[in-house]
Symmetry: C3
Subunit: 347 residues, 3 copies
């Protein structure tokens, strides 16, 4: 196993591993891991039979077998994969699915019951579509995708290869585009343009990706999106981007490659978030962000500036007392000086 996980073995290589477990729940027969230093103290009392440990913790010697590696988190990922149940539904179209006569479904794709596939839509090889999914006309879904239950893929949406859409995801719903009229009503701008989800993208449960009026909405290859995220019409999300849960990105904004956004962050419309930028949790990005910048807050400012200012925010009441006291002392000094001045003048 050490070889398959690309680790160096310290200790007993004959231990039998039956499961992968978190350090708190691990029992005899389990392989566990420590990638986050805050869990190191728990190593002393773990019942696990083996542990994956980072190189930086070279001096730590727990009472069980150790698999040492420079990248314990990736070794853990591979270990979990070794024990994952392989439970894909079998290929073929369930008799309770409705596939349009002119749609094209690969023979080894798996289409579950109560799925609808619209006219001229395409589903690629080995793609699995779980029950109750709705796929609109002319949508194109690539190979080796996993489309979970209750997903809606609207007309003409393009989905690449090896894409996972979790339960309840909506791709291609109308963008929020209205033109305000003189009488205060809102004229709908038809949202009829393209949505492209590139290869190796994963989108979390109940997230929504909107369609624009013109141009396209695009999610770049290798990007991972968490649950309940909103990507508005005309947004361009780059490659290998991470968007944590409940992030929202407003219309026509560009998010460059390798950006990371923490949970509940919002980005305004028509701005650019530069390559590799990091956005702290619950931030409101109200203007463009430079490549590689790390910003946080509402509005988002450089993270260190935000952190320092936040520490002082809670001390504003103490601060005010200091300014009150300073003004009081100043007034006393001024009075004293005025008195002196008068006494001098009197002299």
């Amino acid at each position: 196993m050490a070889r398959r996980l690309d680790c160096r073995l310290d200790g007993d290589g004959d231990v039998e591993i039956l499961r992968v477990a978190g350090i708190q729940h691990a029992q005899s027969g389990d392989l566990t891991f420590v990638a986050n230093a805050r869990y190191l103290p728990q190593l002393a009392s773990t019942r696990a039979s083996a542990v994956i440990l980072g190189g930086a913790n070279g001096s730590v010697a727990p009472g069980c077998a150790v698999l040492r590696t420079d990248d314990p988190y990736s070794a853990f990922a591979r270990a979990v994969s070794l024990f994952a149940p392989a439970a894909a539904p079998r290929p073929g179209i369930d008799p309770h699915a409705l596939v349009a006569a002119d749609a094209s479904v690969a023979p080894d794709a798996s289409i579950g019951p109560f799925v609808t596939i619209g006219s001229r839509a395409m589903v690629g090889a080995r793609t699995i579509i779980y029950p109750n999914v709705a796929i609109g006309p002319e949508a194109r879904i690539g190979e080796d995708c996993v489309i979970r239950s209750q997903v809606s893929i609207r007309e003409r949406v393009v989905v690449g290869n090896r894409v996972t859409l979790h339960d309840g995801v909506v791709v291609g719903s109308d963008g929020f585009g209205f033109a305000r009229q003189k009488d205060g009503t809102h004229l709908k701008i038809p949202q009829i343009a393209d949505v492209v989800i590139e290869d190796d993208v994963e989108i979390g449960a109940n997230s929504t990706i909107d369609r624009p009026a013109v141009g396209e909405t695009r999610v770049g290859a290798g990007t991972k999106i968490d649950n309940l995220v909103h990507v508005a019409h005309g947004v361009a999300v780059g490659r290998r981007v991470l968007l944590a849960a409940q992030v929202g990105i407003a219309g026509s904004t560009t998010v460059e490659d390798d950006v990371m956004m923490a949970g509940q962050t919002g980005v305004t419309g028509h701005v650019r978030v530069g390559k590799g930028a990091i956005i702290g949790a619950k931030s409101a990005v109200l203007q463009s962000v430079d490549d590689g910048a790390f910003v946080t807050g509402h509005p988002a400012i450089p993270h260190n500036a935000w952190r320092k200012a936040s520490m002082l925010f809670r001390r504003l009441p103490a601060f005010r007392k200091r300014v009150d006291a300073v003004e009081q002392r100043l007034a006393e000094i001024e009075e004293k000086l005025a008195a002196w001045q008068r006494s001098r003048t009197d002299r």
Copy 2:
């Protein structure tokens, strides 16, 4: 086309327009538009065959035909409509839909496969219901509505005419109403009252509109709601309101006509947001807002005050240094004065 878009033509009226496109992607044969001044510089290099331009940009003369108008965004909306594909499913009840025997469905409504329509529910003329929608008993849906896939319209909900519900919307789910008991458990207050969605409302993907225990939840005519928005039990949303993505409005709050809320804003329960008020992005509205006010922040305060205070927030560390320095200088002055006073007294 200039006539149909209510524009004045400048330049070659013989150009053939095949498509509407954003200014960055426009090619020969495309009509584009500039409603946002920040995109004006791109006009010089556009390949579009024609552009819709606002009256304020009267002096701009790009190298293509120009359609001038006071309201370029609305002209753009109409132009997109001219080119929109008309792809409505055909009228009638799909044989794979389940309509209760005592439900009433207009003969020219279109009911997709795997749709359920409960007892005594009603669906009006020309309304389109896409696959996998669940409509509860006694729900009433008006004419010319579009109900997208995966929507749930619960029992007794009333939906007006020309309403669009995007994929995954839930209308009529139970409000979050519990009475805390002495033992710390939460007694459910049955949420059984009414939900009304008035005419011309549009609700974005995966948004949720809750039902109250008593009274009603109401969304007024012409209101537009974006994706992943939460409208709690007993909320009254007025007419022509705009709620951007991920907004949340807590129970029993009133949002008056023509209010606009930017994305990720939250409004507490039992307050009133006055007519025409604007709420800035990601705000927390913790008390009532006056008619026409523009507020932002957490808690929301007048927008200009918030903007100025936010600029100073990031300068709090510099501010602290100034107060430190002031105290230091004060101490020095006080010491000097004390020394003088002593020397005077000594004299």
Copy 3:
């Protein structure tokens, strides 16, 4: 009725009550209630035939029958229950549902049309499953549950007794777990471990509860979760917790019993929110919270400190002017002192 609601009757006990209504909409024949003091003034003009009133309002004597109690909100809950329509679908498996041959469904459970129940899944006695629900293989659902339309319960998820899942809820979707590789791509960590929803839990529309790679995600008995809430992989939510709408809790965090979180709050990963803690609206909890603490803000700090600091935040511009003025006055004093000192030295 006074007896059934555990109230003391003041006034006419012969009034016939036909309905329960909010104080603003109540008509003759209606029972209404006042639990929130801000609605007390409306009592004078109510048309209700009876009102439930708290003991603290003993001196209030409206012009209708009064039901006095120490807990008016609970009495109201019971009153609504008395008038709630009992409209459960009838027991049995709809012929348009698809139940795996080796699944186990109690004979008095009710399974709606277009529901799929996977291999070896179990559904307990009297549980109601509404149309279009997808239940994965080996999922176990207890007795007396209500599972609304469009819900997805993924493979191996365990749901206790008397659990309500509202429309569009997803339980058991993959957690957002990836290991960043040297080339910048994200290696998926298979999310294959357990999710447990204990007894008497209610989860609001379109909320999502993720599955972890190892260990479990757990929602404790009696906990109530509002709409569009995100509970990440490996989170432990205690008993009788209240999570209001659009709350998000990041991976591996522990939320102890009796915690209350107001709407749109976010909690970072790997922290502990102590027993009985209260988190104010739209807060960002970035570190562990003590038992019984009340925190608010971004980052969350003790609520009173946040409230005071927030009041001063908006006065930062005035504050700056004060510091400007103080520096100006200091400079004048220093100049005057220097002049004096020079004149002294000159003397």
